[in-house]
Symmetry: C2
Subunit: 298 residues, 2 copies
């Protein structure tokens, strides 16, 4: 499988349009120690011709233009993108579906809860006669028709921000937030861009994996609070931090994962600064920090 | 007033993700005779500090990054964007509102019909406590609070694609598609990115204007049909072509407009090719073809 990181940042991207946190300030000033990053998405291909998208970010149009393998070929109207699998209904994972309009057939997969958000309003631009939308059940392998099979599984998370009511059940394991295991029949890897807690279930599932892309939203749980940007911890936003005793560095250290790559990295996360101590710490622990255009063959 | 063209292309942008029409093929191959263009939006400022957006395109995040005047300044969270006015509810004019999330106050204006599409579903990310949403009535001047006044007026158009039923009233003059007149109290100009027909009402309104940005979607009415890309004429899509006896070149020629600039240019339009006869024809007729980053002082 070829795996291409289309976007490595969390919602809002890096830099974020209205943010002057210390990391965004480096980006706005053009500092070479940080690379701008677009919002969270991967593209995967078994044959190098037809591609599956994991999530459709608001930056998808620019991501396609930046990735020659996703340019149209042959016919007057064409796209190598044959299918899209969405792991939750947050804006950073769903809004790119609006880019995939203009009379182009593709398959769309997601949980019932996630697809419920694409059935009305502005998402009506996706022509029902052309977009083959299919519910993916938890723990059941889905054949994307592209030589790639996807199995979604529930991870601790929460509903999307715009569906939050007065009381939000953070950490609930439901269809609202899923991780996925991808397989071409021979090899497999995991993609978990959002996960509020690394419990024993998550650890067992990822143990021994050849490759895991994992939620790298914040470095510390109180990162946004300490910066005075938000009252919400990473946990409250549905994400586990990298550091700390409950963090992904610690909790996934003993899982014997072949290659570990952080994705969905928030603009406030100091690992985005290439000479930061936090970046050095995650690399010492065997993690890569994904960047847009990063390519991996498995 | 400073006027900055953030995006000069029609819906889908140029090149369009799935299109290999002759003009898009030049863009995909990197031909220097065409400039890539993002989707339809203008930014206007009376003081050079605070900016009004006319429409919020799906490419808005990239447009902000490309425009230093729209970068945040001063506070930890800030944006020079103080207000957004949307002229219809098509994806290319509305989806960028999803980029303006993340706890930032601004004012949002549009007709009742247009704002009805931002009240539910994924647009719930716009925090009602921070986004001051106000209905703009036809033919009534709106004070944006930025030293700029906006007067919307109905032009022949249609409802957005995703709201089309079995029978579409193309050419109806309603709140669904508006043009706007902008004024700083001293000078004024018009922005009409979608207009299905140039009737006497449109001609009278624009007559004698200092500056008009006008619908430049297609060169010929049957452009998409002839290319085998669609069964729809420009008229059916709610746009008047440039050429022909009903076209904007002919119908606006005698209106004594000071400066005429085409915006909302579709990827199929040969005026995008800088050495094309169609480009030469519109320039001979006194029109400019807008490009991303074009700046005008009025």
């Amino acid at each position: 499988m070829r795996i291409l990181v289309l976007g490595s940042a969390a919602g809002g991207g890096f830099p974020q349009w209205n943010c002057r946190c210390p990391v965004c300030q480096l980006a706005w000033s053009g500092d070479q120690r940080v690379k701008p990053r677009s919002q969270s998405s991967l593209a995967i291909s078994a044959d190098g011709e037809r591609w599956l998208l994991l999530n459709a970010s608001p930056d998808l149009r620019q991501q396609i233009i930046a990735s020659m393998c996703l340019h149209p070929r042959g016919a007057k109207r064409h796209s190598p993108i044959g299918a899209v699998f969405v792991t939750n209904a947050d804006v950073d994972h769903l809004a790119g579906l609006l880019t995939l309009r203009e009379q182009q057939p593709f398959m769309l997969f997601g949980s019932r809860a996630t697809l419920a958000q694409t059935g009305a309003g502005i998402f009506g631009v996706l022509n029902k006669d052309l977009v083959d939308t299919r519910v993916a059940e938890l723990d059941v392998s889905v054949d994307t028709g592209l030589g790639i099979f996807v199995t979604p599984f529930a991870v601790p998370g929460k509903v999307p921000l715009y569906l939050e009511g007065a009381n939000v059940a953070v950490g609930a394991e439901s269809e609202a937030t899923v991780g996925v295991e991808l397989s071409d029949g021979a090899k497999s890897f995991f993609y978990v861009p959002g996960c509020a807690e690394i419990n024993e279930g998550v650890r067992k599932r990822l143990a021994g994996a050849a490759l895991v892309f994992f939620d790298g939203t914040t470095f510390t749980d109180d990162e946004m609070v300490n910066l005075g940007l938000s009252k919400k911890t990473a946990w409250r936003m549905g994400h586990v931090a990298m550091s700390g005793e409950k963090g992904s560095l610690e909790r996934l250290a003993s899982c014997a994962i072949g290659r570990k790559i952080y994705v969905h990295i928030n603009n406030t996360n100091p690992v985005l600064i290439e000479d930061s101590p936090q970046r050095a710490a995650v690399e010492r622990a065997g993690w890569d920090v994904a960047y847009d255009g990063m390519e991996i063959c498995l």
